[in-house]
Subunit: 265 residues, 2 copies
Amino acid sequence: VLIVAERINASRKAIRAALETLDAAAIAVEVRTQAAAGAHYIDLNGGTFPGREAELLCWLVDIAQSETKLPLCLDSPDAEALAAALPRIKGERPMINSINLEPGRLARILPLAREYRAKLIALAQGEGVPAAAAPGKVELAVRLVERLVQGGMALDDIYVDPLLFPVATDSNAALASVTAMREIMARFPGVHTICGLTNVSHGLPARKLVNRTFLAGAIANGMDAAIIDPTDPLLMATLLGAEAVFGRDEYCVNFIEAFQAGKLS
Amino acid sequence: VLIVAERINASRKAIRAALETLDAAAIAVEVRTQAAAGAHYIDLNGGTFPGREAELLCWLVDIAQSETKLPLCLDSPDAEALAAALPRIKGERPMINSINLEPGRLARILPLAREYRAKLIALAQGEGVPAAAAPGKVELAVRLVERLVQGGMALDDIYVDPLLFPVATDSNAALASVTAMREIMARFPGVHTICGLTNVSHGLPARKLVNRTFLAGAIANGMDAAIIDPTDPLLMATLLGAEAVFGRDEYCVNFIEAFQAGKLS
């Protein structure tokens, strides 16, 4: 399961403060910590500081690249910020988080992804009311994936995000997302699915338990990437367990190694 | 999710000793503890003491019924033991664990289930080599369910067990079981699916983590009953979490109550 490490996000207070004061050391620590914890991509979200999106995203890219060789996930809906940051990428192909079916976003971000050979997180989301049930999510995802493939993207470079809603307000929200992910992967062999976890537990107590449980259930339905905090040891133990249980860790080699390294307790 | 409490099983040393010495108090404690922990059925497995299966199963039934009003799950492949124990059931309809496609077992246990209105755990298992992959499990389950329905069983009284194998020797074992459960429930709306968890982690370290992770993934695929130890607090927290996440706990009412009662930490 591909781990996109989520901690460098302006919605977190510490990151917002680091962005406001241009505290590069604070960002650097987050990059190193997540890389050491097992991240495969480092997500960079510079928030929405009016007129400064491009500047701050570039600042984050430069710091991240000075700390790690891991590929980066540029987390912005703003094509201008992405267009400014993408040329600075030095190492492995980046990921863009995210594109959806909104015509303006699709028309501006898809060419950038092609030009810079970026992978894409593709949100099952259009301009209207978001789809709550699995069939609606699948329909939106199918339309988006078909547009991306027509536009020259390889299925292997597309990570479909079903847009997970909180179960506290809709008991079927998580089932709808995992069912949609399973059906999208069956429809487009080779495409990936991805999800952030935190939305699912919005409004509930014991949120980390809820998030972990969702993660196990999503992996059991085929989800092969996740936007998570790799420094959360219980979450990582669940991820390693789910990989071992649900066919992503042959002979459970990684799981046994993690146990021997004391990472499962 | 229906909880069949598994602790009274002759494969456990303490229970075997209690059976050998007819220590009723030791059995009674297990009945009460599991009932208090949230069991819906108390499984009674008296083991294979040659010539004494019927006597010991009856002994367990009598003790259990003196301690709880919960229904019982008579866990024996031995039709004679079941025939002796079933007439002693006083309360709610019992469950029989289990029937399969072996002609002798099917021919003897199905009439008992009908006569005593027992629910049945139906193992996806014939006489030949057990099925490792999902299609084989589904095929065996379909044949068995059709035989049971022809024999007069209601789908709502049938709990299909896909026969879970260890992932340490077959990485696809758990995926095969959850896929089979999902397909069986789609094929026979109203039928239930059930599983013991411990097989999946055979040969691995951190077995409880593996079992919990499988439980979450199985519930995410529709499994609606489980043979578990309800006195394991982390396992029960995962079960409550999976019910809340995967559409079996409207507005997460049980989950929030469990949190407030301190059961999720």
